[in-house]
């Protein structure tokens, strides 16, 4: 505007007119003014001077001036970093030959700025001026994603649907649709009541919503004392923070009530109750709750409950440990068919952890006890085909017997000795030397166990074992010499001697009646047998 004003003043002054005169100029004066104006405009380097001429003398438009104006504007637009200038040029001179150049420059400028600054306004501008450009698709994608993110972490389904409608074909639209669908399902899950809260076939619901739904179910279950709902809720909740919160709020009395409920429900729905107990065991440091839960688990009939008990055998809390061991014993007394494979699995898993090796030992022992069942099965003669199985069987029997009383021990040892005697290989040769050696070790172990059993029956068995050993040690020694090797009988072995020293003098069979020392027996016997 200032340029135009100055042009007008300059024009009037230089042509000898004032502004008022200008209005009343005669027909002679006007061509002179126009000529002067044209001259000024032609030499002007400011677009405004040319614009002014064209504005004031529209009827005498000069093609040359128009072009000059466009060129000057184009120079300004091309040299400018301001989208407004470029936009203005395109608006004013959109049909000129320079428009394409300015447009391309504009697009290039915008593209660069979008890449550098990622500003939403640039993207909007880009899409407005060039919706069909090759870069438009990626700009749309970016802008749609920005709009989606701008909705924040908790958009409503309506907002998401709006994104999907506004930006069809973009990834943001697909994401928005997906999220909206999920929110809808979430809504249904949350407001659907216990069935929906605990619906297992509800894959679209988000994990958070499922947890929240399960929490609602738990609260409802606790309120209504609905065991099935409590149990299902606990299964869904696992050990999440929310269950700890809910059950902590509920207090120990309620937790015990849950255990009571679960205990009562075992006959009707044993499997459903286990997850709940699992949660109680894993969630709380409350020793008494754990003890109660372990007691309940002892009366459940599936491997999972056994595994839960076993996990707690390793507890550093003495009361929990004792409760778990008691539960394990109670459990094993029931001779459940699936407990043995489960215990084997447990053994193999726990064996990898050095820090709980004692637990493995205990488990081995208990598994062996369990394997025996109520009537000790003696190993069939067919078992005596190689040395190693015999050792295992012997170990199993010795340990099993150790859990009983002296009378049982003597009876078992005697029976076992009879099996050894009957199956001792004669004559001993290269093919059966290992078996003979194993039996010699077994007889040594039997002697060790019976050493302090001071009854006539025990003394009789000990005498017979010693006589048997005299024969077999002689036979083995002879066979070994034939093979060019020296032989030291087991009872003279350093490991056994060390054990004997550790057990005190005279040799004493450790704690036949004290379960807490079973594993000590086992460790020594096992060590002895394996070392030999």
């Amino acid at each position: 505007m200032a340029g135009r004003f100055l042009f007008l003043i300059g024009l009037l002054v230089s042509s000898g007119c004032t502004a008022s005169k200008g209005r009343s100029t005669s027909n002679d004066t006007l061509p002179r003014v126009r000529a002067r104006a044209l001259q000024m405009a032609s030499s002007a380097s400011e677009p405004s001077a040319i614009e002014s001429y064209l504005l004031y003398f529209p009827s005498s438009r000069s093609a040359g001036l128009n072009e000059k104006l466009i060129q000057l504007d184009a120079q300004a637009a091309l040299g400018s970093q301001d989208p407004a200038v470029m936009t203005a040029f395109l608006r004013l001179h959109g049909s000129s030959p320079l428009a394409k150049q300015v447009f391309e420059n504009y697009i290039s400028f915008l593209t660069k700025r979008i890449h550098e600054k990622h500003q939403e306004k640039d993207m909007v501008l880009f899409l407005r001026i060039c919706p069909n450009c090759s870069q438009a698709a990626s700009v749309r994608e970016n802008l749609a994603m920005i709009r989606l993110r701008a909705l924040g972490p908790s958009p409503s389904p309506q907002q998401l649907s709006a994104i999907a409608r506004t930006w069809p074909g973009t990834k943001a639209a697909a994401l928005a649709r997906q999220k909206a669908a999920r929110l809808t399902v979430d809504h249904a899950v949350l407001f659907g009541g216990p069935e929906a809260w605990l619906g297992s076939d509800w894959p679209q619901a988000s994990p958070e919503i499922r947890k929240e739904a399960a929490r609602l179910a738990l609260v409802h279950g606790l309120r209504t004392r609905n065991l099935s709902v409590i149990t299902n809720a606990l299964r869904h909740l696992g050990t999440s923070e929310s269950i700890i919160r809910e059950l902590s709020k509920a207090g120990r009395r309620v937790r015990l009530r849950i255990i009571d409920h679960l205990t009562c429900a075992i006959p009707a729905q044993p499997r459903a109750s286990i997850p709940a107990l699992e949660v109680l065991l894993s969630t709380f440091q409350d020793t008494v709750t754990k003890r109660d839960a372990l007691e309940t688990l002892a009366f459940m009939d599936d491997p999972r409950s056994l595994w839960l008990i076993v996990q707690n055998v390793a507890s550093s809390d003495l009361l929990v440990h004792v409760a778990a061991v008691a539960a394990l014993k109670a459990r094993l007394k029931r001779n459940l068919p699936w407990d043995i494979p489960a215990l084997r699995l447990i053994e193999s898993r726990l064996a990898a952890h050095q820090d709980i090796a004692p637990v493995v030992l205990r488990l081995s022992f208990l598994r062996l006890l369990s394997e025996r069942g109520s009537t000790p099965p003696l190993p069939p003669p067919s078992s005596f085909t190689s040395g190693q199985p015999v050792l295992r069987i012997i170990r199993a029997h010795l340990l099993a017997v150790a859990g009983r009383g002296t009378a049982d021990l003597i009876k078992e040892c005697t029976q076992y000795f009879e099996i050894l005697r009957r199956n001792f290989p004669q004559p001993i040769g290269r093919h059966n030397l290992a078996l003979a050696l194993a039996q010699e070790r077994a007889s040594a172990a039997l002697l060790m166990l019976l050493k302090d059993a001071n009854t006539p029956a025990a003394r009789d068995t000990v005498t017979r074992i010693k006589a048997f050993r005299t024969v077999i040690v002689g036979e083995i020694t002879r066979a070994m010499r034939l093979a060019g090797r020296e032989y030291t009988p087991s009872l003279g072995h350093p490991v056994l001697e060390a054990y004997e020293k550790a057990s005190g003098s005279p040799r004493k069979c450790p704690a036949l009646h004290l379960p807490s020392r079973y594993e000590e027996v086992m460790r020594h016997v096992s060590s002895f047998l394996h070392t030999n």
Binding site: A180, A188, F191, G192, G193, G199, L216
Partner: protein, 151 residues
């Protein structure tokens, strides 16, 4: 699945007026009994109320879906009642509820029940004007036409 699978024109009511939750449920139970004579009105009311007592089935934005399951029915039954002024139904957004979509499902059709619930939710979420359209309807036939146009 379509709404028409478990909703009859006879089970639609406009101009619902009630002073509170129980009355809404009572009216819905009446509506169901009228539309589906095989249903036991008292039983329908009691199970809807029991469910409602657990937690409100209002989902906000003027919509509620009172629902319950029972072993006394063999399929899903639906009823729709619309209140122009809105009724307090313990909605999470604390706003009056205008549209009440009741569902009664068989106990052994949990998945179908949940899918029906989900469908209703989606219907209202994807049609933001639907609630207003239903509220402005002056007859059950008009409501039926609106719902039919959505299929």
């Amino acid at each position: 699945m379509s709404l028409k699978e478990y909703l009859l024109p006879k089970a639609i009511m406009v101009g619902l007026e009630a002073s509170g939750k129980d009355e809404v449920l009572s009216r819905l139970s009446d509506l169901m009994k009228e539309a589906y004579p095989e249903l036991d009105r008292e039983h329908v009311f009691s199970i809807l109320k029991a469910r409602e007592d657990m937690a409100s089935t209002a989902i906000g934005k003027g919509i509620a879906v009172p629902h319950a399951k029972t072993d006394r029915v063999g399929r899903i039954y639906g009823a729709l009642a619309v209140s122009r002024d809105g009724i307090d139904f313990d909605a999470p957004d604390h706003k009056p509820t205008h549209v009440f979509f009741a569902l009664i499902s068989p106990v052994n059709q949990v998945q179908a029940h949940l899918k029906a619930l989900s469908m209703i939710m989606q219907l209202f979420q994807h049609n933001t004007r639907l609630r207003e359209q239903l509220t402005e309807a002056t007859s059950p036939e008009e409501v039926w036409d609106i719902l039919s146009s959505l299929d």
